[in-house]
C-alpha cells in the first residue's frame, strides 16, 4: 500500500495529506526537509530566535480528513420535496423552506432547473433580479476562492452583488481612517518587521480584546504562538483587556482587566486623563504629529461641551475596573516601552463589534499616538504579525485582482458585471422582506474615506427587486445578526427560487429549493499561499503572521466524494447550459488555471512547474541581508515612507487623514458627517444603544459577548467534526445534541441557581438558545460569554423562528447597525437574560432532520 503524499492549505493552515488507494489516510503538518531553506533569525537581548522547521497549522486543519468524509456532507444534488416549478414563480410553498425534506436529483435535473429559472427570472424582471452571496473563506485557494470562480460566473451572468460588511474589524474600518488614515488597510495599521522590534525593545504588551491563540492570525494557524512564548520568557509584561479572560490571557496574562462589554472607549479616555494630568505623554511627538490635540485635551479634562472630566473614578463606574488599577495601567504604559493593539492585526477584536466600536478604535489609536507610535518598542503591534519576509517576492493573495480567475492577467478576458444595483449583507433580510433598503458605504471601503459615505438604495431607481438567490459557502445563521430574520426572508415568496451550494448540510442550506454538493479543496486542484490575503490589497503582506512564507500546490488528493463536484465544475457546467461555457472556462481546466498563477507571478522565476507540483510547496527564503523597515517608523521619524503597501502622500511623511496627522478632532467627519451622534468628530465614549444604561437592561441585565470562535473557523467545522464536541471548553454532548458552552460568573450563577454543567437558556426578545453552563471566574461579572459562529443550527421546531439548541447565539444579537451613518454590525452589544432550563430537553433531532433519507442514499 504505497502512500501518496500531497499538500494543501486549509483555513487552519497548510497540511500534508497521506492518501492510500484513493482514500485519505492521515493529515499532517508540513515538516520541512533538509533541502528547504534556512529560516530567518532575529537577534535580541543576547539571544537568537528562529522558527522551528515545521509549519504550525491549527488543530482545525488536523481534522480535514474527518471533515471531508463527514456524516453531514451534501452527497447528491437535491431538490426540495414540495418545490413546484410554477411558470410564474408563485405558489411554490416557500413557507415550507427549512421544514420540508429533499429528494435526490441528478446533476442534469438540478442544473437544468437552475438554468430554466435563471432564464425565466432574468427574462421576466431583468438581470438584476438574480442575486448571489458567498460566505468568506469557503475553502482556501486562488482558483476556488469566491473572488475568483464565483465572481467570474456571476459577473458574466450579471447579478445584484451583495456587499460584505467588514464583519471582523468593523470599528476599525469605520473609525480608524478618520483618526489616522490607513483606509487602504481598512483601518488597520502596518506591522512590517515589528516582531524584531518587539523582541529587541518592548517591555509591556497591551492585548486589547485580543486572543491570538484563538484567532490564529486569521488563517495562519499556530505560526505565531512561539513568538509570544519568547516575549514571555524575556520578561515582557502582558496586560490583557477583555470581558472574557480569553484562552491566550488565561495562560499568559500578567494582568487581566475586565471592562464591562462595550465600555472600552471609556477606559481609553481615563488612561488619557492620567497621562494629561501627569504630563506623561510624548509632547514633542504630539506637537509634530497631532491635529487639534488641545480641543481633545479640553474634552478629556472636563472642559469640553459635556463638562465631564474623564477621571479614573468616572471610568470605574462605567467599566467596573477599580480606579487604582486604571491609574496603574496608565502609568505602566507611559513609563515602559509599550506595544499592543486590538485583535490579531492590531485592528480587529470583539470590542470593535460593539455599538461604540468606532470610538474605541479611534481612542485606542490616539493613545498609541500619545506615546510616540512608531518609535522603537512603541507601536500598534499585537504579537501575531510582523515576522521577517521577502517583500521582493510576489505571489497573489485572494484579494488581489491580479490573482483571480475573474480578471486579467490570469484570465484572457476580465469578467464585468453589467448590473449596478447592490445589496448589503447585514440587512439583506430587511431588503427582501420590505422591498426597500437604504444604506451608506461600499462595504470594505478600501479605496478611500469618501467611499464610506456613498449612498445606496434598493431597489435602485429603474431596477427590479431580486427574486432569485444563489447562496454559496458556509452558513450565516451563526455569524450574521438577529438571524431569525433570515428564516423569515427564506420563507418569503419574494424569493421565488433559492439555490444553495455548499460542502456540508449546515444551517442555511436547509432553506434552499435546490442544494448543490460542492467538494472540499482536498478533492480538486488549487494553488495558494499561506495567510496571503493579498499583496497590495487590504491587510497587505498578512503573510508576516507566519514564521514561514509558503506557496502550496494544492494537489487533488482524492476524487470528489459521492456526487460532489468542485465549485469550478458547477459554475462551468451551468455556464455551458446558459450558452457561454467556453467564454467562462476560456478552454482551461482547474489545473490549467493553477498553472496560470505560477506563470503570472514570481513563482515561475523561483521554481519550475514540474518541481513545484512534484514537491508540493515552495518555501520563500528570507534574504540573510534583509533590510529592516519597521512599520510606522517612517512617520515617527518624519522621513518618506519606506514600507511596502504605501500611498504616494506617505512619501511626504503623511498619514491618510485630511491633514496627514493624527486627528484628535476628525476633519473628515466634520466634512462628511458633522452631526452623526454615533461617531463624533471628537472620538469619545458613548453609552451603547444596547448597554447597561438602556431601559432594556432592567429586563435583560446580562451582556452577551460572542467573539470569533476558538473551536471553529467561521461556521465550517463544528457541525461536521464531532471530535470537536469532546473538547470540554467547546461543547458538551447531551441527549444527542452538542450543546455550546456558555460562561457565567459564579456570583451570578449562584443568584440564578445555575451549576456548572446545567443546561441554561440564553434569551431576549429576539430569540432563545439553549447552552451548557460553564461557571467560571473567567468572565466579567455581568457578562455571558458564548462563542459566535456556531456552525450547528438546530431550531427545536425546524424551519421556525424557535428556540435553538445548536448554539447559534447570533439569533440574540441586534440587527441594528452602529449608527445611522456607520453601517457596521455590533453583535457584542447584546443584552439578554439567562435562566436554568428546567423543562425536559428537546430531542437531538438535528441528525435525523439534517440528513433525510435521500441524502443518506
Amino acid at each position: 500500500m504505497a502512500e501518496k503524499i500531497t499538500h494543501s492549505i486549509c483555513v487552519g493552515g497548510p497540511i500534508a495529506i497521506h492518501t492510500v488507494d484513493g482514500v485519505i489516510r492521515r493529515i499532517r503538518p508540513v515538516v520541512l526537509d533538509n533541502n528547504d531553506p534556512k529560516g530567518w533569525t532575529i537577534k535580541a537581548r543576547g539571544e537568537e530566535f528562529t522558527p522551528t522547521r515545521k509549519l504550525q497549522p491549527g488543530f482545525i486543519a488536523m481534522t480535514e480528513k474527518n471533515r471531508a468524509y463527514s456524516y453531514d456532507r451534501i452527497r447528491y444534488p437535491m431538490i426540495r420535496e414540495d418545490f413546484v416549478e410554477t411558470p410564474d414563480g408563485q405558489n411554490r410553498n416557500t413557507e415550507m423552506r427549512g421544514k420540508s425534506g429533499y429528494r435526490r436529483a441528478s446533476w442534469d435535473e438540478a442544473l437544468d432547473l437552475i438554468v430554466r429559472e435563471i432564464k425565466r427570472i432574468q427574462g421576466m424582471y431583468g438581470k438584476e433580479s438574480v442575486t448571489a452571496m458567498t460566505s468568506s473563506h469557503h475553502s482556501w485557494g486562488n482558483v476556488g476562492y469566491k473572488l475568483s470562480t464565483f465572481a467570474r460566473f456571476f459577473r458574466m451572468l450579471g447579478y445584484t452583488e451583495v456587499k460584505d460588511n467588514p464583519d471582523s474589524w468593523e470599528g476599525f474600518t469605520w473609525g480608524g481612517p478618520h483618526t489616522y488614515g490607513y483606509y487602504w488597510r481598512l483601518g488597520g495599521t502596518e506591522a512590517f518587521d515589528l516582531l524584531e522590534d518587539a523582541l529587541q525593545n518592548v517591555e509591556t504588551m497591551i492585548m486589547w480584546s485580543h486572543d491570538p491563540d484563538t484567532t490564529r492570525g486569521g488563517y495562519a494557524g499556530n505560526e505565531s504562538t512561539m513568538w509570544r512564548h519568547w516575549l514571555n520568557d524575556l520578561g515582557v509584561q502582558f496586560i490583557y483587556i477583555d470581558p472574557f479572560n480569553n484562552f491566550s490571557s488565561v495562560k499568559q496574562a500578567d494582568k487581566w482587566l475586565a471592562p464591562r462589554p462595550g465600555t472600552d472607549a471609556a477606559l481609553c479616555e481615563a488612561i488619557a486623563y492620567v497621562w494629561l494630568t501627569e504630563g506623561t505623554y510624548d509632547k514633542e511627538y504630539i506637537a509634530k504629529h497631532g491635529h487639534r490635540f488641545d480641543e481633545w485635551c479640553d474634552f478629556i479634562l472636563g472642559n469640553g461641551a459635556d463638562r465631564l472630566a474623564k477621571t479614573p473614578k468616572w471610568c470605574e463606574a462605567e467599566t467596573g475596573i477599580p480606579a487604582a488599577d486604571i491609574k496603574a495601567m496608565a502609568r505602566r504604559w507611559a513609563s515602559t516601552k509599550t506595544m499592543g493593539g486590538s485583535g490579531m492585526r492590531g485592528g480587529f477584536g470583539g470590542v470593535c463589534r460593539t455599538a461604540n466600536g468606532t470610538e474605541f478604535a479611534r481612542t485606542m489609536m490616539l493613545l498609541f499616538a500619545m506615546q510616540g507610535m512608531g518609535k522603537p518598542g512603541q507601536n500598534v503591534w499585537s504579537g501575531s504579525t510582523g515576522a521577517p519576509m521577502d517583500y521582493d517576492f510576489w505571489f497573489g493573495g485572494y484579494s488581489d485582482p491580479l490573482a483571480q480567475i475573474a480578471n486579467e492577467p490570469i484570465a484572457d478576458k476580465t469578467a464585468v458585471n453589467s448590473v449596478t444595483q447592490k445589496l448589503y449583507r447585514t440587512n439583506l433580510p430587511e431588503a427582501i422582506l420590505n422591498g426597500h433598503y437604504e444604506w451608506y458605504g461600499e462595504g470594505f471601503c478600501g479605496g478611500g474615506i469618501d467611499l464610506e459615505f456613498t449612498e445606496h438604495i434598493y431597489p435602485e431607481p429603474g431596477c427590479s427587486k431580486v427574486h432569485m438567490f444563489w447562496r454559496y459557502g458556509g452558513t450565516f445563521m451563526g455569524t450574521m445578526l438577529d438571524t431569525n430574520k433570515w428564516v423569515k426572508m427564506y420563507q418569503s415568496s419574494e424569493l421565488e427560487f433559492v439555490v444553495n451550494q455548499d460542502i456540508h448540510f449546515h444551517g442555511e442550506a436547509r432553506f434552499a429549493d435546490v442544494v448543490l454538493p460542492a467538494c472540499t479543496n482536498l478533492e480538486r486542484y488549487d494553488i495558494g499561499e499561506l495567510c496571503n490575503s493579498g499583496n497590495g490589497g487590504y491587510q497587505s503582506h498578512s503573510q508576516t503572521g507566519n514564521s514561514w512564507q509558503i506557496v502550496v500546490f494544492q494537489d487533488k488528493a482524492i476524487e470528489p466524494l459521492w456526487e460532489s463536484r468542485s465549485d469550478y465544475w458547477i459554475f462551468a457546467e451551468t455556464a455551458k447550459r446558459l450558452g457561454w461555457g467556453e467564454e467562462f472556462t476560456e478552454g482551461r481546466t482547474e489545473l490549467d488555471w493553477c498553472k496560470r498563477f505560477w506563470e503570472k507571478s514570481d513563482l515561475c522565476d523561483r521554481i519550475s512547474w514540474e518541481d513545484f507540483t512534484k514537491k508540493g510547496y515552495y518555501i520563500v527564503p528570507v534574504p540573510e541581508d534583509r533590510i529592516r523597515r519597521p512599520g510606522f517608523c517612517w512617520f515617527a521619524e518624519g522621513y518618506a515612507c519606506d514600507t511596502p503597501n504605501h500611498k504616494p502622500f506617505q512619501e511626504e511623511g503623511k498619514l491618510g487623514t485630511f491633514t496627514g496627522k493624527f486627528e484628535f478632532v476628525s476633519e473628515s467627519l466634520l466634512y462628511w458627517a458633522p452631526h452623526d451622534e454615533a461617531r463624533t468628530p471628537i472620538a469619545s465614549y458613548k453609552r451603547s444603544w444596547e448597554g447597561h444604561h438602556s431601559i432594556k437592561a432592567r429586563k435583560y441585565p446580562f451582556h452577551l459577548i460572542s467573539p470569533h470562535p476558538r473551536f471553529d473557523y467561521h461556521t465550517q467545522h463544528n457541525s461536521s467534526t464531532p471530535w470537536f464536541w469532546e473538547i470540554p471548553e467547546n461543547r458538551e454532548y447531551i441527549n444527542g445534541n452538542p450543546y455550546l458552552v456558555a460562561r457565567v460568573h459564579p456570583e451570578k450563577a449562584a443568584e440564578k441557581g445555575i451549576k456548572d454543567g446545567d443546561i441554561i437558556e440564553l434569551f431576549n426578545e429576539r430569540g432563545s438558545v439553549l447552552c451548557v453552563a460553564r461557571v467560571t471566574y473567567r468572565v466579567e461579572v455581568n457578562t455571558i460569554h458564548a462563542y459566535g459562529s456556531s456552525g450547528v443550527y438546530n431550531p427545536v421546531v425546524p424551519g421556525e423562528m424557535s428556540q435553538d439548541i445548536g448554539g447559534c447565539v447570533n439569533v440574540l444579537t441586534p440587527g441594528r447597525l452602529m449608527g445611522d451613518m456607520v453601517p457596521g454590525m455590533a453583535p457584542n452589544s447584546t443584552l439578554m437574560d439567562v435562566r436554568k432550563h428546567e423543562d425536559c430537553l428537546p430531542l437531538g433531532q438535528m441528525f435525523e432532520y439534517k440528513l433525510d433519507k435521500v441524502a443518506r442514499g
Binding site: 517583500y391 510576489w394 486579467e408 492577467p409 497590495g536 506563470e599 518618506a640 519606506d642 504616494p648 512619501e651
Partner: protein, 66 residues
Amino acid sequence: MANTIMIQHMFKKDGFYKAPDGKVYKIVVSEIWNLRAFEIQNGKMTGPMVKIHPESDLAKSLVEVE
C-alpha cells in the same frame, strides 16, 4: 534611513508606459520593493509578470502613454 523620492511613484498604478523598444507596459504593482508590470499587446496583458527594478535603465526610460 530616509529615502529620497521613490521612483515607483513616478508611475501610476494601472497606468501605461512605453519603453524605447516600443513595448507598452501596464503597471500593476507600484510599491517599494515591488514595481511590476505586464506587457500590453492588442489591449491585453500578456506574458509573465515583469519585475522592473526602480533604479534600472528600463525604469528610467519608460514614458507614460494614454
